[in-house]
Amino acid sequence: MKGKKSINYIKNEYIGRTLVTICGFLIVLTTLAIIIFICQKGMQSFLDSKLSLGEFLTSDKWSPNNKSYGALVFIAGSTAVSLGAVIISAPIGIAIAIFNNHIAPKFGARFLKPVLELLVGIPSVVYGFLGVVILVPMLRENFGGVGFSLIAGVIVLSIMILPTIASIADDAIRGVSPAYLEASYGLGSTRWQAVSRVVVPAAKTGIMTGVVLGLARAFGEALAVQMVIGNTVKLPDGLYSPTSTLTGILSMDMSNTLNGTAWNNALWTLAMILLLISFLFILIIRVISKKGAQA
Protein backbone atom coordinates (compact mmCIF):
# COMPACT_ATOMS: atom_id res chain seq x y z
CA MET A 1 0.00 0.00 0.00
CA LYS A 2 2.69 2.36 0.99
CA GLY A 3 4.80 1.37 -2.00
CA LYS A 4 1.93 2.00 -4.38
CA LYS A 5 1.38 5.42 -2.93
CA SER A 6 4.98 6.39 -3.46
CA ILE A 7 4.87 5.20 -7.08
CA ASN A 8 1.88 7.41 -7.60
CA TYR A 9 3.67 10.23 -5.89
CA ILE A 10 6.68 9.83 -8.13
CA LYS A 11 4.46 9.58 -11.17
CA ASN A 12 2.49 12.68 -10.33
CA GLU A 13 5.23 14.87 -9.00
CA TYR A 14 8.44 14.09 -10.78
CA ILE A 15 7.18 13.21 -14.24
CA GLY A 16 5.04 16.33 -14.35
CA ARG A 17 7.79 18.46 -12.96
CA THR A 18 10.31 17.07 -15.42
CA LEU A 19 8.01 17.58 -18.37
CA VAL A 20 7.27 21.21 -17.63
CA THR A 21 10.94 21.89 -16.90
CA ILE A 22 11.81 20.43 -20.29
CA CYS A 23 9.32 22.83 -21.87
CA GLY A 24 11.04 25.71 -20.14
CA PHE A 25 14.46 24.57 -21.30
CA LEU A 26 13.16 24.04 -24.81
CA ILE A 27 12.47 27.76 -25.12
CA VAL A 28 16.01 28.56 -24.09
CA LEU A 29 17.44 25.96 -26.47
CA THR A 30 15.33 27.15 -29.41
CA THR A 31 16.29 30.77 -28.88
CA LEU A 32 19.97 29.90 -28.63
CA ALA A 33 19.73 27.63 -31.68
CA ILE A 34 18.17 30.42 -33.75
CA ILE A 35 20.85 32.90 -32.74
CA ILE A 36 23.71 30.44 -33.28
CA PHE A 37 22.54 29.07 -36.63
CA ILE A 38 21.65 32.45 -38.15
CA CYS A 39 24.89 34.05 -36.94
CA GLN A 40 26.97 31.12 -38.14
CA LYS A 41 25.36 31.41 -41.59
CA GLY A 42 25.71 35.17 -41.52
CA MET A 43 29.41 35.10 -40.72
CA GLN A 44 30.12 33.05 -43.85
CA SER A 45 30.11 36.22 -45.93
CA PHE A 46 33.18 37.37 -44.13
CA LEU A 47 34.83 33.99 -43.50
CA ASP A 48 34.16 32.15 -46.79
CA SER A 49 33.29 34.83 -49.33
CA LYS A 50 35.89 37.26 -47.93
CA LEU A 51 33.67 40.30 -47.99
CA SER A 52 34.83 43.16 -45.84
CA LEU A 53 32.62 44.07 -42.91
CA GLY A 54 33.27 47.78 -43.31
CA GLU A 55 32.30 47.76 -46.96
CA PHE A 56 29.27 45.59 -46.25
CA LEU A 57 27.92 48.08 -43.74
CA THR A 58 28.84 51.35 -45.48
CA SER A 59 28.55 50.73 -49.22
CA ASP A 60 25.25 51.50 -50.91
CA LYS A 61 26.02 49.39 -53.96
CA TRP A 62 24.17 46.09 -53.96
CA SER A 63 24.58 44.33 -57.27
CA PRO A 64 25.19 40.60 -57.00
CA ASN A 65 26.09 40.48 -60.72
CA ASN A 66 29.11 42.73 -60.14
CA LYS A 67 29.91 41.00 -56.88
CA SER A 68 29.40 44.14 -54.83
CA TYR A 69 27.49 43.69 -51.63
CA GLY A 70 26.73 46.85 -49.68
CA ALA A 71 23.85 46.69 -47.24
CA LEU A 72 23.62 50.39 -46.44
CA VAL A 73 20.49 50.90 -48.55
CA PHE A 74 18.62 48.17 -46.70
CA ILE A 75 19.77 49.24 -43.26
CA ALA A 76 18.93 52.87 -44.00
CA GLY A 77 15.59 51.89 -45.54
CA SER A 78 14.57 49.75 -42.56
CA THR A 79 15.66 52.43 -40.11
CA ALA A 80 13.91 55.26 -41.96
CA VAL A 81 10.65 53.39 -42.41
CA SER A 82 10.43 52.19 -38.81
CA LEU A 83 11.46 55.52 -37.29
CA GLY A 84 8.88 57.26 -39.47
CA ALA A 85 6.21 54.82 -38.33
CA VAL A 86 7.08 55.40 -34.67
CA ILE A 87 7.04 59.19 -35.10
CA ILE A 88 3.46 58.96 -36.38
CA SER A 89 2.29 56.17 -34.13
CA ALA A 90 3.79 57.03 -30.73
CA PRO A 91 1.86 60.28 -30.10
CA ILE A 92 -1.40 58.68 -31.27
CA GLY A 93 -0.78 55.57 -29.18
CA ILE A 94 -0.02 57.59 -26.06
CA ALA A 95 -3.07 59.78 -26.68
CA ILE A 96 -5.25 56.67 -26.87
CA ALA A 97 -3.74 55.36 -23.65
CA ILE A 98 -4.54 58.67 -21.90
CA PHE A 99 -8.03 58.69 -23.41
CA ASN A 100 -8.72 55.15 -22.16
CA ASN A 101 -7.61 55.93 -18.63
CA HIS A 102 -8.45 59.53 -17.91
CA ILE A 103 -10.81 61.00 -20.50
CA ALA A 104 -13.46 58.39 -21.22
CA PRO A 105 -12.62 55.03 -19.61
CA LYS A 106 -16.01 53.44 -20.26
CA PHE A 107 -16.12 54.45 -23.91
CA GLY A 108 -12.52 53.34 -24.26
CA ALA A 109 -13.15 49.91 -22.78
CA ARG A 110 -16.28 49.43 -24.82
CA PHE A 111 -15.04 50.61 -28.24
CA LEU A 112 -11.34 51.48 -28.43
CA LYS A 113 -9.95 48.32 -26.82
CA PRO A 114 -11.80 45.93 -29.16
CA VAL A 115 -10.81 48.14 -32.09
CA LEU A 116 -7.15 47.88 -31.14
CA GLU A 117 -7.46 44.11 -30.68
CA LEU A 118 -8.88 43.82 -34.17
CA LEU A 119 -6.12 46.00 -35.62
CA VAL A 120 -3.59 43.58 -34.08
CA GLY A 121 -5.45 40.67 -35.59
CA ILE A 122 -5.45 41.93 -39.19
CA PRO A 123 -2.75 39.90 -40.97
CA SER A 124 0.22 41.81 -42.30
CA VAL A 125 -0.35 40.70 -45.90
CA VAL A 126 -3.81 42.23 -45.68
CA TYR A 127 -2.28 45.52 -44.52
CA GLY A 128 0.18 45.31 -47.37
CA PHE A 129 -2.56 44.51 -49.83
CA LEU A 130 -4.69 47.43 -48.63
CA GLY A 131 -1.62 49.61 -49.02
CA VAL A 132 -1.26 48.46 -52.62
CA VAL A 133 -4.90 48.93 -53.59
CA ILE A 134 -5.78 52.08 -51.59
CA LEU A 135 -2.74 53.97 -50.38
CA VAL A 136 -0.39 53.60 -53.34
CA PRO A 137 -2.89 54.83 -55.97
CA MET A 138 -3.83 57.70 -53.65
CA LEU A 139 -0.19 58.76 -53.26
CA ARG A 140 0.36 58.42 -57.00
CA GLU A 141 -2.57 60.69 -57.82
CA ASN A 142 -1.79 63.35 -55.21
CA PHE A 143 1.99 63.48 -55.20
CA GLY A 144 3.05 62.00 -58.53
CA GLY A 145 5.70 59.33 -58.93
CA VAL A 146 4.97 55.64 -58.75
CA GLY A 147 3.20 55.70 -55.42
CA PHE A 148 5.32 52.83 -54.07
CA SER A 149 7.40 54.85 -51.65
CA LEU A 150 8.95 55.28 -48.25
CA ILE A 151 5.92 57.22 -47.02
CA ALA A 152 3.59 54.39 -48.07
CA GLY A 153 5.65 52.01 -45.94
CA VAL A 154 5.64 54.46 -43.04
CA ILE A 155 1.86 54.85 -43.09
CA VAL A 156 1.14 51.12 -43.33
CA LEU A 157 3.59 50.36 -40.52
CA SER A 158 2.29 53.15 -38.31
CA ILE A 159 -1.16 51.54 -38.35
CA MET A 160 0.32 48.12 -37.64
CA ILE A 161 2.35 49.18 -34.59
CA LEU A 162 -0.29 51.48 -33.11
CA PRO A 163 -1.92 48.72 -31.00
CA THR A 164 1.46 47.65 -29.56
CA ILE A 165 2.33 51.15 -28.41
CA ALA A 166 -1.20 51.98 -27.24
CA SER A 167 -1.70 48.83 -25.17
CA ILE A 168 1.67 49.02 -23.37
CA ALA A 169 1.31 52.77 -22.76
CA ASP A 170 -2.21 52.02 -21.50
CA ASP A 171 -0.85 49.57 -18.90
CA ALA A 172 1.85 52.04 -17.88
CA ILE A 173 -0.59 54.90 -17.38
CA ARG A 174 -3.02 52.68 -15.50
CA GLY A 175 -0.18 51.75 -13.17
CA VAL A 176 0.35 55.34 -12.03
CA SER A 177 -0.92 55.70 -8.48
CA PRO A 178 -4.22 57.63 -8.32
CA ALA A 179 -2.74 59.53 -5.37
CA TYR A 180 -0.51 61.45 -7.80
CA LEU A 181 -3.51 62.49 -9.83
CA GLU A 182 -5.45 63.52 -6.75
CA ALA A 183 -2.51 65.49 -5.39
CA SER A 184 -2.28 67.30 -8.68
CA TYR A 185 -6.02 68.05 -8.70
CA GLY A 186 -5.69 69.19 -5.12
CA LEU A 187 -3.19 71.81 -6.24
CA GLY A 188 -5.86 73.13 -8.56
CA SER A 189 -4.57 71.78 -11.85
CA THR A 190 -6.87 71.01 -14.73
CA ARG A 191 -7.14 67.48 -16.12
CA TRP A 192 -4.75 68.28 -18.97
CA GLN A 193 -2.21 69.75 -16.57
CA ALA A 194 -2.45 66.75 -14.28
CA VAL A 195 -2.16 64.28 -17.15
CA SER A 196 0.62 66.02 -19.04
CA ARG A 197 2.78 67.06 -16.07
CA VAL A 198 2.18 64.29 -13.56
CA VAL A 199 0.70 61.12 -15.04
CA VAL A 200 2.68 60.89 -18.28
CA PRO A 201 6.06 61.65 -16.67
CA ALA A 202 5.29 59.07 -13.97
CA ALA A 203 4.50 56.47 -16.63
CA LYS A 204 7.54 57.39 -18.73
CA THR A 205 9.30 54.02 -18.36
CA GLY A 206 6.36 51.97 -19.53
CA ILE A 207 5.61 54.33 -22.38
CA MET A 208 9.22 54.17 -23.58
CA THR A 209 9.06 50.37 -23.46
CA GLY A 210 5.98 50.46 -25.65
CA VAL A 211 7.62 52.80 -28.13
CA VAL A 212 10.77 50.67 -28.40
CA LEU A 213 8.67 47.50 -28.83
CA GLY A 214 6.72 49.28 -31.56
CA LEU A 215 10.00 50.22 -33.21
CA ALA A 216 11.18 46.61 -32.99
CA ARG A 217 7.97 45.35 -34.51
CA ALA A 218 8.21 47.89 -37.33
CA PHE A 219 11.83 46.93 -37.98
CA GLY A 220 11.02 43.25 -38.29
CA GLU A 221 7.84 43.54 -40.32
CA ALA A 222 8.40 41.98 -43.71
CA LEU A 223 5.63 41.52 -46.22
CA ALA A 224 3.43 44.56 -45.62
CA VAL A 225 6.39 46.89 -46.11
CA GLN A 226 7.81 44.91 -48.99
CA MET A 227 4.50 45.18 -50.86
CA VAL A 228 4.29 48.99 -50.74
CA ILE A 229 7.84 50.33 -50.54
CA GLY A 230 8.87 49.74 -54.16
CA ASN A 231 12.01 47.67 -53.51
CA THR A 232 14.48 49.68 -55.56
CA VAL A 233 18.01 49.26 -54.28
CA LYS A 234 18.70 52.97 -53.92
CA LEU A 235 18.90 55.34 -51.00
CA PRO A 236 15.63 57.29 -50.91
CA ASP A 237 15.77 60.90 -52.16
CA GLY A 238 12.80 61.81 -50.06
CA LEU A 239 9.59 60.55 -48.55
CA TYR A 240 7.99 59.94 -51.93
CA SER A 241 10.75 57.89 -53.51
CA PRO A 242 10.89 54.08 -53.34
CA THR A 243 13.56 52.22 -51.42
CA SER A 244 14.20 48.77 -49.88
CA THR A 245 14.35 47.21 -46.45
CA LEU A 246 16.28 44.32 -44.91
CA THR A 247 13.14 42.24 -44.54
CA GLY A 248 11.97 43.06 -48.06
CA ILE A 249 15.13 41.90 -49.82
CA LEU A 250 15.17 38.74 -47.68
CA SER A 251 11.61 37.84 -48.55
CA MET A 252 12.20 38.33 -52.27
CA ASP A 253 15.70 37.11 -53.03
CA MET A 254 16.50 34.20 -50.76
CA SER A 255 14.86 31.65 -53.02
CA ASN A 256 16.65 33.00 -56.10
CA THR A 257 20.08 32.18 -54.77
CA LEU A 258 22.04 28.96 -54.45
CA ASN A 259 23.28 27.82 -51.08
CA GLY A 260 26.95 28.68 -50.54
CA THR A 261 27.27 31.43 -53.13
CA ALA A 262 28.49 34.87 -52.08
CA TRP A 263 25.05 36.32 -52.87
CA ASN A 264 23.34 33.77 -50.64
CA ASN A 265 25.85 34.38 -47.86
CA ALA A 266 25.32 38.12 -48.10
CA LEU A 267 21.58 37.58 -47.66
CA TRP A 268 22.20 35.50 -44.55
CA THR A 269 24.35 38.33 -43.25
CA LEU A 270 21.37 40.65 -43.71
CA ALA A 271 19.29 38.19 -41.67
CA MET A 272 21.98 38.23 -38.99
CA ILE A 273 21.93 42.03 -38.90
CA LEU A 274 18.16 41.92 -38.53
CA LEU A 275 18.44 39.42 -35.67
CA LEU A 276 21.13 41.44 -33.88
CA ILE A 277 19.12 44.66 -34.19
CA SER A 278 16.00 43.02 -32.77
CA PHE A 279 18.12 41.68 -29.91
CA LEU A 280 19.49 45.18 -29.37
CA PHE A 281 15.93 46.47 -28.97
CA ILE A 282 15.31 43.90 -26.23
CA LEU A 283 18.45 44.99 -24.41
CA ILE A 284 17.36 48.65 -24.69
CA ILE A 285 13.99 47.75 -23.16
CA ARG A 286 15.73 45.93 -20.33
CA VAL A 287 17.90 48.96 -19.60
CA ILE A 288 14.89 51.26 -19.67
CA SER A 289 12.88 49.13 -17.26
CA LYS A 290 15.83 48.67 -14.93
CA LYS A 291 16.32 52.43 -14.76
CA GLY A 292 12.60 52.84 -14.21
CA ALA A 293 12.69 50.37 -11.33
CA GLN A 294 15.54 52.27 -9.69
CA ALA A 295 13.93 55.68 -10.06
Partner: protein, 312 residues
Protein backbone atom coordinates in the same frame (compact mmCIF):
# COMPACT_ATOMS: atom_id res chain seq x y z
CA UNK B 1 -4.94 82.92 -16.30
CA UNK B 2 -7.30 80.43 -14.74
CA UNK B 3 -9.72 80.51 -17.61
CA UNK B 4 -6.91 80.07 -20.13
CA UNK B 5 -5.81 76.88 -18.37
CA UNK B 6 -9.38 75.68 -18.66
CA UNK B 7 -9.52 76.54 -22.34
CA UNK B 8 -6.30 74.61 -22.93
CA UNK B 9 -7.78 71.69 -21.02
CA UNK B 10 -10.92 71.75 -23.14
CA UNK B 11 -8.96 71.95 -26.35
CA UNK B 12 -6.90 68.91 -25.35
CA UNK B 13 -9.99 66.97 -24.34
CA UNK B 14 -11.32 67.70 -27.82
CA UNK B 15 -8.08 66.53 -29.40
CA UNK B 16 -8.16 63.26 -27.44
CA UNK B 17 -11.74 62.60 -28.52
CA UNK B 18 -10.82 63.39 -32.13
CA UNK B 19 -7.93 60.91 -32.06
CA UNK B 20 -10.05 58.20 -30.47
CA UNK B 21 -12.78 58.61 -33.06
CA UNK B 22 -10.24 58.76 -35.88
CA UNK B 23 -8.76 55.40 -34.86
CA UNK B 24 -12.20 53.80 -34.66
CA UNK B 25 -13.13 55.33 -38.02
CA UNK B 26 -9.89 53.99 -39.50
CA UNK B 27 -10.69 50.41 -38.48
CA UNK B 28 -14.26 50.69 -39.75
CA UNK B 29 -12.96 52.14 -43.02
CA UNK B 30 -10.40 49.35 -43.46
CA UNK B 31 -12.86 46.56 -42.71
CA UNK B 32 -15.61 48.04 -44.90
CA UNK B 33 -13.12 48.62 -47.69
CA UNK B 34 -11.82 45.03 -47.64
CA UNK B 35 -15.25 43.45 -47.39
CA UNK B 36 -16.83 45.65 -50.07
CA UNK B 37 -13.93 45.15 -52.49
CA UNK B 38 -13.98 41.42 -51.92
CA UNK B 39 -17.78 41.23 -52.05
CA UNK B 40 -18.98 37.78 -53.02
CA UNK B 41 -16.12 35.98 -51.30
CA UNK B 42 -18.56 33.49 -49.79
CA UNK B 43 -19.32 31.92 -53.17
CA UNK B 44 -18.66 28.18 -52.60
CA UNK B 45 -17.11 27.88 -56.06
CA UNK B 46 -14.49 30.38 -54.91
CA UNK B 47 -14.04 29.18 -51.34
CA UNK B 48 -13.70 25.52 -52.17
CA UNK B 49 -12.75 25.60 -55.85
CA UNK B 50 -9.42 24.59 -57.29
CA UNK B 51 -7.10 27.45 -58.23
CA UNK B 52 -6.22 27.98 -61.84
CA UNK B 53 -2.74 28.96 -62.98
CA UNK B 54 -3.69 30.54 -66.26
CA UNK B 55 -7.42 31.20 -66.45
CA UNK B 56 -9.74 33.48 -64.54
CA UNK B 57 -12.31 32.05 -62.16
CA UNK B 58 -10.07 29.92 -59.96
CA UNK B 59 -10.82 29.29 -56.30
CA UNK B 60 -8.86 29.12 -53.07
CA UNK B 61 -9.97 25.70 -51.78
CA UNK B 62 -6.54 24.13 -51.20
CA UNK B 63 -5.13 27.32 -49.67
CA UNK B 64 -8.00 27.59 -47.23
CA UNK B 65 -7.62 23.95 -46.28
CA UNK B 66 -3.84 24.38 -45.85
CA UNK B 67 -4.35 27.38 -43.59
CA UNK B 68 -6.64 25.45 -41.26
CA UNK B 69 -4.57 22.27 -41.34
CA UNK B 70 -1.39 24.19 -40.59
CA UNK B 71 -3.13 26.08 -37.79
CA UNK B 72 -4.28 22.82 -36.19
CA UNK B 73 -0.86 21.19 -36.57
CA UNK B 74 0.90 24.16 -35.01
CA UNK B 75 -1.61 24.35 -32.14
CA UNK B 76 -1.14 20.62 -31.44
CA UNK B 77 2.58 21.27 -31.03
CA UNK B 78 2.59 24.70 -29.43
CA UNK B 79 -0.24 24.49 -26.87
CA UNK B 80 1.28 21.67 -24.78
CA UNK B 81 4.72 23.29 -24.97
CA UNK B 82 3.40 26.73 -24.07
CA UNK B 83 1.31 25.30 -21.25
CA UNK B 84 4.27 23.33 -19.94
CA UNK B 85 6.61 26.30 -20.07
CA UNK B 86 3.97 28.50 -18.47
CA UNK B 87 3.49 26.01 -15.63
CA UNK B 88 7.25 25.78 -15.19
CA UNK B 89 7.62 29.56 -14.93
CA UNK B 90 4.60 30.04 -12.68
CA UNK B 91 5.09 27.11 -10.30
CA UNK B 92 8.53 25.52 -10.45
CA UNK B 93 11.15 28.02 -11.61
CA UNK B 94 13.22 29.50 -8.81
CA UNK B 95 14.00 33.19 -8.75
CA UNK B 96 17.52 33.88 -9.80
CA UNK B 97 19.93 34.25 -12.64
CA UNK B 98 18.64 31.29 -14.64
CA UNK B 99 15.03 32.46 -14.52
CA UNK B 100 16.19 35.88 -15.62
CA UNK B 101 17.94 34.22 -18.56
CA UNK B 102 14.82 32.23 -19.46
CA UNK B 103 12.82 35.45 -19.50
CA UNK B 104 15.41 37.13 -21.69
CA UNK B 105 15.11 34.19 -24.10
CA UNK B 106 11.32 34.48 -24.19
CA UNK B 107 11.53 38.20 -24.85
CA UNK B 108 14.09 37.64 -27.58
CA UNK B 109 11.99 34.92 -29.14
CA UNK B 110 8.90 37.12 -29.01
CA UNK B 111 10.64 39.98 -30.75
CA UNK B 112 12.27 37.92 -33.49
CA UNK B 113 11.15 39.19 -36.88
CA UNK B 114 8.98 36.49 -38.42
CA UNK B 115 11.10 36.44 -41.56
CA UNK B 116 14.15 35.54 -39.45
CA UNK B 117 12.24 32.66 -37.87
CA UNK B 118 11.22 31.61 -41.37
CA UNK B 119 14.86 31.63 -42.48
CA UNK B 120 15.79 29.55 -39.44
CA UNK B 121 13.14 27.08 -40.58
CA UNK B 122 14.62 27.13 -44.08
CA UNK B 123 18.02 26.34 -42.62
CA UNK B 124 16.95 23.56 -40.26
CA UNK B 125 13.84 21.87 -41.64
CA UNK B 126 14.21 22.48 -45.36
CA UNK B 127 17.96 22.26 -45.88
CA UNK B 128 19.54 20.37 -42.97
CA UNK B 129 16.72 17.86 -42.46
CA UNK B 130 16.22 17.51 -46.24
CA UNK B 131 12.46 17.74 -45.87
CA UNK B 132 12.06 20.40 -48.53
CA UNK B 133 9.07 22.69 -48.20
CA UNK B 134 6.67 20.90 -45.86
CA UNK B 135 3.60 21.45 -43.73
CA UNK B 136 5.38 20.16 -40.65
CA UNK B 137 8.24 22.61 -41.20
CA UNK B 138 5.70 25.40 -41.43
CA UNK B 139 3.94 24.18 -38.29
CA UNK B 140 7.20 24.08 -36.33
CA UNK B 141 8.11 27.60 -37.43
CA UNK B 142 4.66 28.84 -36.44
CA UNK B 143 5.22 27.12 -33.09
CA UNK B 144 8.39 29.15 -32.56
CA UNK B 145 6.47 32.34 -33.38
CA UNK B 146 3.55 31.37 -31.17
CA UNK B 147 5.35 29.90 -28.18
CA UNK B 148 6.49 33.06 -26.34
CA UNK B 149 2.99 34.55 -26.41
CA UNK B 150 1.35 31.30 -25.32
CA UNK B 151 3.88 30.83 -22.53
CA UNK B 152 3.17 34.30 -21.18
CA UNK B 153 -0.60 33.78 -21.33
CA UNK B 154 -0.36 30.43 -19.53
CA UNK B 155 2.09 31.74 -16.96
CA UNK B 156 0.03 34.77 -16.03
CA UNK B 157 -3.19 32.72 -15.97
CA UNK B 158 -1.71 30.14 -13.61
CA UNK B 159 0.09 32.72 -11.48
CA UNK B 160 -3.15 34.66 -11.01
CA UNK B 161 -4.90 31.71 -9.34
CA UNK B 162 -5.45 32.94 -5.76
CA UNK B 163 -3.00 31.56 -3.23
CA UNK B 164 -5.72 30.65 -0.71
CA UNK B 165 -7.42 28.36 -3.24
CA UNK B 166 -4.16 26.47 -3.66
CA UNK B 167 -3.59 26.39 0.08
CA UNK B 168 -7.04 24.89 0.58
CA UNK B 169 -6.04 22.14 -1.82
CA UNK B 170 -2.71 21.54 -0.04
CA UNK B 171 -4.59 21.49 3.24
CA UNK B 172 -6.68 18.59 1.96
CA UNK B 173 -3.47 16.67 1.43
CA UNK B 174 -3.10 17.20 -2.31
CA UNK B 175 0.38 17.25 -3.77
CA UNK B 176 1.70 20.15 -5.79
CA UNK B 177 1.01 18.42 -9.09
CA UNK B 178 -2.48 17.35 -8.04
CA UNK B 179 -3.26 20.89 -6.98
CA UNK B 180 -1.97 22.14 -10.30
CA UNK B 181 -4.00 19.73 -12.41
CA UNK B 182 -7.20 19.69 -10.39
CA UNK B 183 -7.34 23.23 -9.00
CA UNK B 184 -5.04 25.73 -10.70
CA UNK B 185 -5.50 24.65 -14.32
CA UNK B 186 -9.32 24.58 -14.27
CA UNK B 187 -9.32 28.01 -12.63
CA UNK B 188 -6.89 29.37 -15.21
CA UNK B 189 -8.58 27.65 -18.15
CA UNK B 190 -10.68 30.63 -19.20
CA UNK B 191 -7.70 32.90 -19.71
CA UNK B 192 -5.71 30.16 -21.40
CA UNK B 193 -8.43 29.30 -23.90
CA UNK B 194 -8.98 32.95 -24.79
CA UNK B 195 -5.24 33.37 -25.28
CA UNK B 196 -5.00 30.28 -27.47
CA UNK B 197 -7.86 31.40 -29.73
CA UNK B 198 -6.41 34.88 -30.12
CA UNK B 199 -3.00 33.45 -30.96
CA UNK B 200 -4.70 31.14 -33.46
CA UNK B 201 -5.98 34.21 -35.28
CA UNK B 202 -2.46 35.55 -35.55
CA UNK B 203 -1.08 32.23 -36.79
CA UNK B 204 -3.82 32.06 -39.39
CA UNK B 205 -2.66 35.29 -41.01
CA UNK B 206 1.09 34.69 -40.80
CA UNK B 207 2.86 34.65 -44.13
CA UNK B 208 6.45 35.87 -43.90
CA UNK B 209 7.63 32.87 -41.89
CA UNK B 210 5.92 30.42 -44.23
CA UNK B 211 7.30 31.55 -47.58
CA UNK B 212 10.51 29.59 -47.04
CA UNK B 213 9.15 26.74 -44.93
CA UNK B 214 5.73 25.61 -46.14
CA UNK B 215 6.44 26.93 -49.62
CA UNK B 216 4.59 28.77 -52.34
CA UNK B 217 2.95 25.80 -54.03
CA UNK B 218 0.36 23.16 -53.32
CA UNK B 219 0.22 19.87 -55.21
CA UNK B 220 -3.07 18.89 -56.83
CA UNK B 221 -4.72 17.46 -53.74
CA UNK B 222 -6.51 14.16 -53.91
CA UNK B 223 -8.02 12.59 -50.81
CA UNK B 224 -7.95 9.13 -52.39
CA UNK B 225 -4.17 9.10 -52.56
CA UNK B 226 -1.94 7.19 -50.16
CA UNK B 227 -0.99 9.11 -46.99
CA UNK B 228 2.68 9.04 -47.94
CA UNK B 229 1.93 10.56 -51.34
CA UNK B 230 2.48 14.31 -51.64
CA UNK B 231 -0.99 14.75 -53.11
CA UNK B 232 -2.75 13.44 -50.01
CA UNK B 233 -4.05 16.55 -48.25
CA UNK B 234 -3.19 15.17 -44.80
CA UNK B 235 0.41 14.24 -45.57
CA UNK B 236 2.46 16.52 -43.32
CA UNK B 237 5.51 16.20 -45.56
CA UNK B 238 4.03 18.00 -48.55
CA UNK B 239 4.42 21.63 -49.56
CA UNK B 240 1.45 23.81 -48.70
CA UNK B 241 0.68 27.38 -49.62
CA UNK B 242 -1.60 29.08 -47.11
CA UNK B 243 -4.17 31.75 -47.82
CA UNK B 244 -1.99 34.59 -46.49
CA UNK B 245 0.98 33.42 -48.55
CA UNK B 246 -1.35 33.12 -51.55
CA UNK B 247 -2.28 36.81 -51.28
CA UNK B 248 1.38 37.76 -51.19
CA UNK B 249 2.21 35.55 -54.16
CA UNK B 250 -0.68 36.87 -56.23
CA UNK B 251 0.47 40.40 -55.52
CA UNK B 252 4.11 39.83 -56.39
CA UNK B 253 4.03 37.28 -59.18
CA UNK B 254 0.41 36.58 -60.01
CA UNK B 255 -0.08 35.79 -63.71
CA UNK B 256 -3.75 34.82 -63.53
CA UNK B 257 -5.87 37.49 -65.26
CA UNK B 258 -8.07 37.93 -62.18
CA UNK B 259 -5.19 37.90 -59.67
CA UNK B 260 -6.32 41.18 -58.11
CA UNK B 261 -9.89 39.93 -57.68
CA UNK B 262 -8.74 36.67 -56.09
CA UNK B 263 -6.40 38.56 -53.77
CA UNK B 264 -9.12 40.98 -52.62
CA UNK B 265 -11.56 38.16 -52.00
CA UNK B 266 -8.90 36.17 -50.14
CA UNK B 267 -8.13 39.24 -48.02
CA UNK B 268 -11.84 39.49 -47.21
CA UNK B 269 -11.88 35.82 -46.20
CA UNK B 270 -8.85 36.36 -43.95
CA UNK B 271 -10.45 39.38 -42.28
CA UNK B 272 -13.69 37.51 -41.69
CA UNK B 273 -11.73 34.63 -40.19
CA UNK B 274 -9.88 37.02 -37.87
CA UNK B 275 -13.17 38.59 -36.81
CA UNK B 276 -14.54 35.13 -36.14
CA UNK B 277 -11.54 34.16 -34.03
CA UNK B 278 -12.01 37.36 -32.04
CA UNK B 279 -15.71 36.76 -31.46
CA UNK B 280 -15.02 33.12 -30.61
CA UNK B 281 -12.45 34.17 -28.01
CA UNK B 282 -14.95 36.54 -26.42
CA UNK B 283 -17.72 33.94 -26.42
CA UNK B 284 -15.42 31.31 -24.93
CA UNK B 285 -14.34 33.72 -22.22
CA UNK B 286 -17.95 34.58 -21.38
CA UNK B 287 -19.19 30.99 -21.33
CA UNK B 288 -16.31 29.76 -19.22
CA UNK B 289 -16.67 32.70 -16.89
CA UNK B 290 -20.33 31.84 -16.37
CA UNK B 291 -19.47 28.19 -15.89
CA UNK B 292 -16.77 29.01 -13.32
CA UNK B 293 -19.02 31.33 -11.36
CA UNK B 294 -21.73 28.72 -11.48
CA UNK B 295 -24.23 31.22 -12.84
CA UNK B 296 -25.14 28.92 -15.73
CA UNK B 297 -26.81 26.75 -13.12
CA UNK B 298 -28.28 29.67 -11.27
CA UNK B 299 -31.90 28.69 -11.87
CA UNK B 300 -31.46 25.27 -10.36
CA UNK B 301 -29.76 26.68 -7.30
CA UNK B 302 -32.43 29.35 -6.96
CA UNK B 303 -35.17 26.70 -7.19
CA UNK B 304 -33.63 24.53 -4.54
CA UNK B 305 -33.15 27.57 -2.33
CA UNK B 306 -36.84 28.42 -2.84
CA UNK B 307 -37.94 24.90 -2.03
CA UNK B 308 -35.78 24.89 1.08
CA UNK B 309 -37.34 28.14 2.17
CA UNK B 310 -40.82 26.78 1.51
CA UNK B 311 -40.28 23.70 3.58
CA UNK B 312 -38.84 25.87 6.33
Amino acid sequence: MRSSARTVNNIWTGIFYAIAFAVIALLVYLVVEIISRGWGFWDPAFLFGRPSNTMAGGGIGPQLFNSFYLLILSLIISVPLGLGAGIYLAEYAKQGRFLNFVRLCIETMASLPSIVVGLFGLLIFVTLAHWGYTLIGGALVLTILNLPGLTRVCESAIASVPQNVKEASYGLGATKWQTLVKVSLPTAMQEIITGVILSAGRVFGEAAALIYTAGLTTPMLNTAADLSSPVNPFNIFRPAETLAVHIWKLNSEGIVPDAAAIATKSAAVLIVMVLMFNILARLAAKTLDKYNKGTSRKKKVQKSVDSVQKTA
